[in-house]
């Protein structure tokens, strides 16, 4: 690697910037093909019901209608996780939420399809509605699904690392707090869209606004019972993803089936209401933190319980459940830890991964509790945290391997920048500051479908034009993955990013990348790209050194030239270098791939949480709260993020500010909430406000000033030292907000979102001598299974559970699951 970076680390226009400002970026709904037909879906009006009969005869007779499909055409289930293939493209026997798709009409245009949809008659036999986790825990029957741990409990897990009860009993103080985090949704501006066609060879092509073309590829192969090799999935640039386009979706499978049957292109674009039904967003989570603390502010043990409202399908839910308990120990030194998590099915749109996936909810609880701990101990909350930052290059109690940790520096930076010491507990009534921290994965250490294959692959083509084309399955969702890819290649080969053409997200043309989720792309794709580029550079260097008669280690690749480091005027242009190498070696191409290091966690459930490295963030939020009305505004946020290295600081800053923005929405206003229709209507459980007008999100007028600091100490695991930046900076904002509200007006809002109404209610409670708090009263008694017992590393553990069934019998069970997963 050249010592001086010419591309990496410099603020640059992103490679796809021009297309985005000219309207040339082609999103899925911008695709128009000859003879294209249009699809609309009929969605359930019942939250939970058996389908008795679907009569499509009248719809099929409408002029301009080409095809009507029902669940009969989709016998094979699919889903994102191998353990929860619980969806059918169209419902077959029952519907599970208002919005579940029941039938599809394919017609000459959307208007005709919509007219025909209304003529489909569905007879339902209503079943009990499960509106909340309390319902699902109380009534095991009727089951929403006929799988899962029991009744309407989808997943229940219990893990224990050391004797937590003893650790808490031995503590000087015990803190026991219950918190609630309401669900919210991604709200990407682009509504999901897909276009399917049969190509000239008779193979299936699907363009889709997906973050995970590889998983859509697998799901299509399985659900349509087709060879994966006969399917091509092209991920169009996403108009925002945030996790909401990470599942394979029913509408993608429906248009694929229709295109195969009709031999014509078929398009679907969901309307905004339907996007709220696709959801897969933030799980509502109730949580209880019982934490033992010493007089000097060290944590002796943490006992965490979480209850997740999963909605109607599995989605990523098993992973989400584990994620609510995975990263506490990665942030702070917690010598003993117990985590128990429970996800239930309810009759609402399925929850899944939204930016921060499963971790923001429990991060909120932990950081607000730390604020309470600091208050009780009489310690500054920044100092308290500085005393318990997890040690770098270590294994945590739950066997997460952490590398570099810049958290202490992040805390010090925001303390200094915000003038924290002059503000905390010193501002006048109504103004306050709050601090919180977080950590996040730089990519999941284990793939969704367990196998030994690389998580990402990069191919490079160099030709005599001097052009370089790079191929990778990574998906551009706005985060700048194409730019990272191109910049990496350009840096290693000493050319300009605009000399490189990126071909991405196309299962025919590009090597597999698992997708744009879990903040994995920069680290994994970046490492694979460096490998491919370095292999190409070696070939060029070998050929040029032979031509120039000098050792290859004296050659420098920079400024579109390959030259002698001792005598820069001796050298060739990059294009000449490519020609010399092509003449010597033949057609030039290289590959790179990346597989994360093996996890130290060897217990069941230890697959969620490991990462090649973790990012760290600290934030201070300043709020103004009107003590009369509870009205809350946010003038300023200071945030410092341990990014390892910012590959393109312009884009890195955009990820931080975008995270802060999205977090402000979650903290203050966004709610994916539900209500019952009046009894004189159907009394059905429906989305409270499936529209952008009423699902409030922040506008440009709501934005605070944001002071961003990127803390750069290159991490050996990352490409050029880079860690993630897309998700971690969201996490500390919600708890910092709650802590700031307490500093401002002395009330604890232990529940997200923090609305003026809640603040006012807490202020009124305080005024009348009641506890100055608003939040859930208690956590339900859940019958937890026997915990898997794993001794922490410092208590002689080896990462295995002492009471787990043998690996051999586990393997067998997993093999059975994998066999149903289609493509391998």
């Amino acid at each position: 690697m050249t010592s001086r970076m010419r591309v990496i680390g410099h603020p640059r226009r992103r490679v796809d910037g021009r297309a985005k400002v000219t309207g040339q970026t082609r999103f899925a709904d911008d695709i128009v093909l000859p003879r294209m037909l249009h699809c609309r879906l009929l969605r359930s009006t019942q939250p939970h019901a058996r389908i008795v009969r679907v009569n499509t005869a009248e719809a099929a007779r409408v002029e301009g209608v080409h095809l009507v499909l029902t669940g009969e055409s989709f016998p094979i289930p699919y889903g994102i996780l191998p353990v929860s293939h619980d969806e059918h493209a169209l419902c077959r026997d029952k519907v599970r939420f208002v919005g579940d798709p029941v039938a599809a009409v394919i017609a000459r245009d959307e208007v005709t399809a919509e007219q025909a949809i209304r003529l489909i008659d569905v007879e339902y036999e209503p079943l009990r509605t499960f509106a909340s986790p309390a319902d699902s825990l109380a009534y095991p029957e009727p089951r929403i699904h006929d799988y899962g741990d029991h009744g309407n409990v989808h997943k229940i897990v219990s893990l224990q690392f050391g004797d937590v009860d003893q650790a808490i009993a031995d503590a000087d103080h015990v803190f026991d707090d219950v918190f609630f985090f309401e669900g919210n949704t991604h709200l990407p501006l682009e509504q999901h869209a897909a276009v399917a066609l049969k190509d000239g060879d008779g193979k299936l092509v699907v363009y889709s606004s997906t973050q995970t073309p590889h998983y859509v590829h697998r799901a299509l192969a399985k659900a349509l019972a087709m060879p994966a090799a006969h399917i091509r999935v092209i991920a169009t640039p996403n108009g925002g993803g945030f996790g909401g386009k990470s599942d394979p979706f029913n509408h993608e499978i429906v248009v694929a089936k229709a295109a195969l049957l009709l031999d014509r292109p078929v398009k679907i674009c969901l309307n905004r209401e339907e996007v709220f039904y696709c959801h897969r967003g933030r799980h509502p989570v109730l949580m209880r933190f019982r934490t033992g603390v010493t007089n000097d502010g060290r944590i002796t043990g943490l006992d965490l319980q979480t209850l997740l409202d999963g909605g109607a399908y599995g989605s990523y839910g098993v992973a989400s459940t584990f994620y609510t308990g995975a990263l506490q120990t990665v942030t702070y030194d917690i010598p003993r830890y117990r985590f128990r998590g429970c996800r239930v099915f309810t009759n609402k749109p399925p929850c899944g991964p939204k930016r921060g996936h499963g971790t923001p909810q429990s991060r909120f609880g932990q950081e607000v509790q730390l604020d309470k701990i600091a208050e009780r101990l009489g310690v500054d909350p920044a100092e308290l945290r500085l005393g318990i930052v997890a040690p770098p290059d270590s294994l945590t109690a739950n066997y997460m391997r952490v590398g570099t940790i810049g958290l202490a520096e992040c805390i010090r930076r925001v303390v200094e920048r915000s003038n924290w010491r002059e503000k905390f507990r010193k501002l006048p009534l109504g103004r306050g500051v709050g601090l919180a921290c977080s950590s996040y994965l730089s990519g999941a250490g284990l793939p969704i479908n367990w196998n030994d294959l690389p998580h990402t692959g990069v191919q490079l083509k160099l030709d005599r034009s001097g052009g370089v084309t790079v191929f990778c399955g990574a998906t551009e969702i706005g985060q700048g993955s194409d730019d990272v890819l191109v910049a990496t290649i350009a840096e290693v080969l000493g050319i300009d990013p605009f000399d490189v053409r990126a071909v991405t997200g196309d299962t025919d043309l590009t090597p597999v990348d698992l997708g744009s989720y879990s903040s994995r792309v920069t680290l994994m794709m970046g490492n694979a790209a460096i490998q491919a580029a370095e292999r190409a550079r070696e070939m060029l260097a070998a050929a040029v050194s032979a031509r120039l008669g000098m050792p290859s280690d004296r050659l420098v690749f920079a400024d579109r030239r390959v030259f002698d480091s001792g005598n820069p005027s001796t050298g060739v242009t990059f294009q000449e270098a490519v020609c010399i190498a092509e003449a010597r070696f033949g057609t030039l191409g290289t590959t790179g791939s990346y597989t994360p290091p093996k996890s130290a966690a060897r217990f069941k459930g230890g697959g969620v949480g490991p990462s090649p490295t973790y990012s760290y963030t600290a934030a201070v939020v300043e709020v103004d709260v009107d003590p009369e009305t509870g009205w809350i505004t946010v003038p300023r946020v200071w945030i410092a993020h341990d990014i390892g290295r910012a590959l393109n600081p312009t884009l890195a800053r955009g990820q931080v500010e975008g995270s802060v923005y999205m977090a402000l929405g979650e903290a203050l206003m966004e709610e994916q909430a539900f209500r019952r229709l009046p009894a004189r209507l159907s009394h059905a459980l429906v989305h409270k406000f499936p529209s952008m007008l009423e699902y409030k999100s922040p506008t440009s007028l709501d934005m605070p000033e944001i002071v961003t600091d990127l803390i750069e100490h290159p991490d050996p695991a990352g490409p050029f030292g880079a860690k993630e930046v897309g998700q971690g900076p969201l996490l500390p904002i919600m708890p910092a907000m709650a802590n700031a509200v307490y500093d401002a007006v002395g009330v604890r809002i232990d529940q997200i979102p923090i609305t003026p109404e809640k603040i006012l209610r807490a202020l009124q409670a305080k005024a009348s001598g009641k506890p100055a708090r608003l939040g859930p009263a208690d956590f339900p008694d859940i019958e937890w299974p026997e915990a898997l017992l794993v001794a922490p590393p410092w208590e002689g553990g080896d990462g295995r559970a002492s009471n787990e069934p043998t690996r051999r019998s586990r393997r067998k069970a997993e093999a059975g699951i994998e066999a149903t997963a289609g493509v391998r």
Partner: protein, 162 residues
């Protein structure tokens, strides 16, 4: 279905087509004229994604019937660049990270263009006000506002008027 005549100027070029009478300006631009640079996020007037300029004023094209546009002047994102050069707003948006996924960008660009034509040197507050009807889920708006400010500095006053 009843067809209506849609005859107006789009990006300074005369256009004349027969379109379904129920269609909105958004649908005619995207479906009948293949000007897919204008996006849609709700088709209910809630998100600002479909903004275009109608006689110089930003409008939500999902709420305008095509039939209302007779003889009027429409500017879409495709009409911002001129003489092979990007508009200063486009240059600044691309350079300064104001477009992440790029989906809200066309609507924000035309809204910002209308603002700068009326107020060549708007304050930050005025920019935020003018863009408050355009939702963006990626950026947190700050780099967008900075890009508008940078473009205002770059633009000679005659460009703004034109």
């Amino acid at each position: 279905m009843m067809k209506v005549r849609f005859a107006c100027t789009v990006n300074d070029e005369p256009v004349e087509v027969l379109v379904d009478g129920y269609k909105t300006l958004l649908e005619v631009l995207r479906e009948d004229l293949q000007l897919t640079g204008t996006k849609h996020g709700c088709e209910l007037g809630e998100c600002g994604t479909c903004a275009v300029l109608l006689d110089g004023q930003p409008v939500l094209s999902c709420l305008v019937l095509a039939a209302e546009c007779d003889a009027r002047h429409i500017i879409t994102v495709e009409g911002l660049a001129a003489d092979g050069r990007l508009h200063p707003l486009q240059e600044c948006f691309a350079d300064l990270g104001a477009a992440q996924c790029g989906y809200c960008t066309p609507g924000i660009l035309v809204t910002a263009k209308a603002l700068l034509e009326q107020e060549p040197h708007p304050s930050r507050e005025r920019i935020c006000e003018a863009l408050s009807g355009n939702l963006c889920r990626c950026t947190g708006y700050l780099q967008i506002v900075e890009a508008v400010e940078a473009a205002a500095r770059l633009m000679p006053s005659e460009t703004k008027a034109g």
